[in-house]
């Protein structure tokens, strides 16, 4: 311990009032460092203004690719655009080699420490690790003790380190990322975007490529499989779309060829993990986890976790699945361990660390505590255990004298929960801004993957610069920006590529294999939301066109008010608009609805949330439609919500985008089950829309006079069809027939129901389930009711009886459609059942005495 302390203290930086930071680009003598010169030279050849233009181009590219970083506190939707800077951080290959060597050593060390903590615990017995550091750390998962990864797999498969350079020009590790490290996908995407927007830069230097690292990673994951090593099923376990790095989960899954799964997509049976697909359960061999380990299993870990997989720890214990990283790995992520790493390195590796950590003291030792408090103004105090992370760091020198005593008492009450760290003056590099290049402190996240017994670093990483030069933290969460990181080769060197076993010859296939239940679910809802958006835009358009100016007739006013009510019922405007809206209040309500997160914006958001999860199932052009064109349409609606003409244009545009999406779906998607679910969603939604508008319009008009029928035809996009068939007069019977019963009209309810029934028949696997399933029966019943409807009787004289019959049919249809959606969900989708913890319905209590 003594030794560890001395080593950490030796890493302390010279105290100085406000020393200038180490400059990455310029030497103390004002010279541009050699490895920056080609880069700066290339920049200088760009014409004036080019950088601003490239910046725009890059921004568009990030947007198009859907790169986001979610922040919980964000008010406008869960996603926030990616902040980036075009200037890369170049690192010469010789310097990089030293960084690599140190990080490989560190990863090896952390893996060994984990193996000891979850095994014999000799490090604790021999006092190289204070017991309380492990025992009081909530990331130490006791149920995982004694559970070694299957087949000799490492505890630490993937490791990330945040490193920064101090005043003395030496790199230090500021933090270890061990639990479920993020950022590798962002690093790759930063590289890709930069290569496309500033290709000139890459001609100036030989930059080591990132691609091979991902190939190696893929191979390394496959080797973790306890069985099926030639073709294992590997999933990336994500907490879901509300996770702040969800984009990266989707991106990495695609990059590494993994199945993206949420906890509810997996199930444990007889101590094996399975993926739920339409065709049944498929066994999973490896889980690359982006879910924090304590949330992974409500049975043995956090009982309140609703995003884990019940029974997962047992499956790991049984050795049927490998988790990367192992459950419990988070225990060494605590900064409290930093002062002990030098001693642990000596013991476990017989070497020193190579790269020191940022000067850190763990306050859980009495002697250390008193020393640190004596020099309180030299340190930053942070909670060191996960779960305490929301407590902000306290800068000793910024403590008001009056609050100092209370603060020390707070530390003294639970000293083991805090570390003191020296303030680090991180090196700075230029960031491009409208006013020119300005220096900003930086930190680099480096990534290493375990491959064949050693760790292989990504040649590069994700450099992050702080939002300003005052802050303590360089982090994306606090508004920093990301940069590409270059390892500059002296000359081209051969690149090591992971080898995968030679694949056997592929048999011909006509389907993409078993569709994951989650994907089917998302496609179904994508279809529903796209159609719902289309219907909403039509309804809003019809309302906009009828906003009464002066001198509106009583009938026009009634029509307008009926529309207002329909909008309110569907949540497209606020219901509180009152009983009798006028033109102005309607315009306000519509404008407000377009600018808020409710109503139509909610539909846009829903589509944008779902689309990335099924991106693999969409063609590039379809993706373009749901991502770019839809974003565009939304921006148009939001741009001038008060302007009726612009709103109308926006609605037209939205309707056009929806049409393009549906058109591409029918032209470009193979008729597999994926397409069927997308179309099923759309048909169900359209049938529901048809039934509900007919019902609403007849209820409002009482009998169905001509102008009302015209409105109905317009809302159901059947005006032209009607006119070509019936020329002039608009009468109830033909309108009802066209909109409800006519199975040749692609807008009729009957048409939708026929397709729904057909889809369901095709999806039901008769070999497995020979009898008609509930969802098939409901669809048939709904279709039959519409087919048997006596449209001539009802349409010829709209009296009270006729209205009752019509209302029966429509109400019944709406009810059946709701049942149908329910039945489909039950039959095919994965997360219908609630998960409950019993016997221990306790959220861990935490009392913070201060």
């Amino acid at each position: 311990m003594e030794e560890a302390r001395l080593t950490a203290a030796a890493g302390a930086e010279p105290a100085a009032d406000k020393p200038p930071p180490f400059d990455e680009m310029v030497t103390g003598g004002g010279q541009i460092r050699p490895h920056w010169q080609p880069l700066m030279g290339a920049l200088r050849t760009l014409p004036t203004g080019a950088l601003a233009e490239r910046m725009d181009r890059a921004r568009r590219q990030y947007d198009e690719n859907g790169v986001t970083y979610n922040v919980f506190a964000e008010t406008r939707g869960p996603q926030r655009p990616w902040q980036f800077d075009l200037l890369p951080l170049p690192i010469p290959a010789e310097e990089w080699a030293e960084i690599e060597a140190a990080l490989v050593k560190r990863a090896t060390l952390l893996d060994r420490i984990l193996a000891d903590i979850y095994g014999p615990q000799s490090l604790i017995r021999d006092r190289l690790l204070p017991p309380a550091l492990v025992h009081t750390n909530p990331a130490f998962l006791r149920p995982c003790h004694g559970v070694a990864p299957a087949n000799g797999a490492p505890f630490l498969h993937f490791y990330a380190a945040d490193i920064a350079r101090g005043l003395d020009g030496r790199w230090r590790v500021c933090a270890d990322r061990v639990n479920a490290p993020s950022g590798a996908g962002y690093a790759l995407e930063n590289r890709n975007v930069l290569m496309r927007t500033l290709p000139e830069l890459f001609q100036s230097s030989t930059v080591r490529r990132l691609g091979p690292f991902f190939e190696l990673w893929q191979a390394a994951l496959a080797q973790l499989a306890p069985r099926h090593r030639e073709n294992p099923r590997i999933v990336l376990l994500t907490p879901g779309p509300y996770s702040e790095t969800y984009f990266e989960h989707v991106y990495l899954a695609r990059q590494l060829g993994l199945t993206l799964a949420e906890g509810a997509d997996l199930t444990v049976r007889d101590a094996k993990v399975f993926l739920k697909t339409l065709g049944g359960l498929q066994q999973v061999d490896v889980i690359l986890r982006r879910l924090d380990d304590d949330y992974c299993d409500p049975v043995e870990l956090r009982p309140e976790s609703a995003i884990g997989v019940a029974g997962l720890v047992d499956a790991v214990r049984a050795g049927s699945v490998t988790l990367a990283n192992a459950l419990g790995a988070g225990v060494v992520e605590t900064p409290a361990i930093l002062p002990f790493l030098p001693g642990l390195a000596q013991r476990l590796l017989g070497e020193d660390l190579g790269m020191p950590s940022i000067e850190t003291w763990w306050l859980g030792q009495r002697a250390v505590f008193d020393q640190v408090i004596e020099r309180i103004e030299d340190y930053v105090f942070r909670p060191c255990f996960a779960g305490d992370g929301f407590e902000p760091a306290v800068v000793g020198s910024e403590l008001e004298p009056g609050k100092r005593k209370a603060f020390v008492e707070r530390l003294r009450a639970r000293p083991h929960r805090y570390v003191a760290q020296a303030r680090m003056h991180k090196s700075a590099m230029p960031v491009w801004s409208a006013g020119g290049l300005i220096p900003r402190p930086l930190m680099v996240r480096c990534f290493l993957v375990r491959h064949e017994g050693t760790y292989v670093p990504m040649p590069g990483g994700m450099t992050r610069v702080a939002a300003d030069d005052s802050g303590l933290d360089v982090s994306m969460q606090r508004g920093g920006a990301a940069k590409d990181t270059w390892v500059i080769e002296r000359e081209l060197a051969p690149v090591v590529v992971g080898t995968r076993a030679q694949a056997a010859r592929e048999p011909l296939r006509r389907s993409a294999g078993e569709l994951q239940s989650r994907v089917a679910d998302n496609l179904f809802w994508l279809g529903r939301y796209a159609e719902r958006l289309d219907n909403a835009a039509r309804l809003m358009r019809a309302s906009l066109m009828r906003v009464p100016a002066g001198g509106a007739s009583a009938r026009e006013l009634a029509e307008f008010q009926a529309l207002a009510r329909m909008l309110g019922d569907r949540g497209l405007v606020e219901r509180t608009m009152g009983g009798l809206p006028d033109g102005r209040s309607m315009m306000e309500a519509l404008g407000h609805a377009c600018g808020s997160d409710q109503g139509i914006s909610h539909l846009f958001q829903a589509i944008q949330r779902i689309a990335p999860t099924v991106r693999d199932r969409l063609s590039a052009d379809m993706w373009n439609v749901v991502n770019d064109l839809l974003r565009d349409a939304r921006l148009r609606l939001e741009a001038q919500p008060g302007d009726a003409d612009r709103l109308l244009e926006g609605m037209d545009h939205t309707i056009g985008v929806c049409a393009a999406f549906h058109g591409m779906a029918s032209e470009n998607m193979t008729r597999g089950s994926g397409w069927r679910f997308l179309d099923l969603g759309r048909r169900l939604e359209r049938a529901a829309h048809g039934a509900s508008v007919v019902r609403d319009v007849f209820a409002a008009s009482g009998h169905g006079s001509e102008p009302w029928l015209r409105l109905l035809l317009e809302l159901c996009d059947s005006s032209i069809t009607y006119r070509t068939r019936y020329m002039a007069a608009v009468q109830p019977a033909p309108v009802l027939d066209l909109l409800l019963c006519d199975d040749t009209n692609p807008r009729s309810v009957a048409f939708q129901l026929q397709l729904v029934a057909e889809h369901l028949d095709r999806l039901a696997r008769r070999d497995v389930r020979p009898l008609s399933q509930p969802e098939q029966k409901i669809a048939r019943a709904a279709l039959t009711a519409v087919e048997l409807f006596d449209v001539e009787r009802v349409g010829s004289t709209i009296d009270r009886d006729a209205m009752a019959l019509l209302d029966d049919l429509l109400g019944g249809t709406q009810g059946r459609l709701a049942d149908l959606s329910e039945a489909i969900t039950r039959a095919y989708f994965s997360h219908v059942e609630t998960v409950q913890s019993i016997g221990y319905e306790v959220a861990p209590a935490r009392e913070d005495g201060a």
């Binding site: 009081t136 029974g311 047992d314 221990y840 005495g849």
Partner: protein
């Protein structure tokens, strides 16, 4: 003393449960002073997978999963044990509590690695000023550590009322301190919190207690259900079990299932069910002393 124990837990669900996973700590722990003559945990309907593991604290944890729909789950835990806890040392012969505290502190050179685990707060045992203030009178300077514990044990029994309706599984120590009422689990947590507030080690023990016939004497509290008490650490003697619900030192009327930092580590049954809706739970415990030892009739 030999006991025959039948512990039946019944879950009745409003809707069928499709899948369930449970971890049960219902097998008595083998100890030098507790011989397990036989034990079995049987669930109905029959689980797809059942297996025993030894958990981090050395308790037997039975893992089971059920994969067919069921509306009722019955778990029967039966065992026969022979218990005879050692007579505790004379409290006055134990070291002063401060000395024990210092030996457990990370700064010294403690020999007591196993005890260190039980010195700090744990998920269900938080220490606050109320706890510290309550504990303090039992720990005057220089008092032998076991005397402190026994005094605390007595005070909890005297100052807290037994009231099964006052608390639930999730009731925090802070609330129990406020209400001054609860059940064995609450009193054990309170005592553990007090001991840890002083920097000493205490663990939560789960098990059963013998009930005496009501004739003449009052029924002992904690009967006919799972019971819980506290293991306190006394250097030299290691762990001594005391029961704050009944103000006694455990001797031959308690059966130990297992121990942990708090209830969360040794809940008799915890699990996750899929589906099920609301559920009803019934627990019955029957602990019968055997007049005649039939250990010799057992074949293993």
């Amino acid at each position: 003393m030999i006991y025959d124990v039948v512990h039946r837990t019944t879950y009745r669900y409003a809707e069928p449960v499709d899948l369930s996973y449970h971890v049960m700590r219902l097998t008595p722990r083998a100890l030098t002073h507790q011989r397990v003559l036989r034990s079995a945990v049987i669930a109905t309907p029959a689980p797809v997978r059942v297996h025993d593991t030894t958990d981090y604290f050395g308790n037997v944890a039975t893992y089971m999963s059920l994969e067919e729909p069921h509306a009722e789950l019955v778990v029967d835990a039966r065992c026969a044990v022979d218990v005879q806890f050692p007579v505790p040392p004379d409290p006055l012969s134990t070291p002063p509590w401060e000395q024990v505290r210092d030996s457990l502190d990370g700064g010294g050179l403690p020999a007591e690695t196993l005890a260190v685990e039980f010195v700090r707060e744990s998920p269900l045992v938080a220490v606050d000023d109320t706890v510290r203030e309550f504990a303090a009178p039992s720990f005057p300077a220089g008092r032998p550590v076991l005397a402190c514990f026994l005094d605390l044990n007595r005070r909890i029994k005297a100052e807290f009322a037994f009231d099964p309706r006052a608390t639930g599984v999730a009731t925090a120590v802070r609330e129990v301190m406020q209400m001054r009422r609860g059940v064995c689990q609450d009193f054990a947590h309170v005592m553990i919190a007090c001991i840890r507030a002083m920097g000493l080690a205490a663990r939560y023990v789960s098990g059963y207690i013998r009930t005496h016939a009501p004739a003449g004497q009052p029924r002992r509290v904690g009967a006919d259900a799972s019971h819980a008490w506290v293991g306190v650490f006394v250097p030299g003697t290691s762990w001594i079990d005391v029961d704050p619900t009944n103000d006694l030192v455990v001797c031959d009327e308690h059966v130990v299932l297992g121990w942990g930092r708090d209830y969360g580590d040794v809940a008799p049954i915890r699990g996750v069910i899929l589906g099920g809706g609301t559920h009803r739970l019934d627990v019955s415990v029957d602990l019968r002393p055997l007049d005649v030892s039939y250990a010799s009739e057992q074949d293993g």
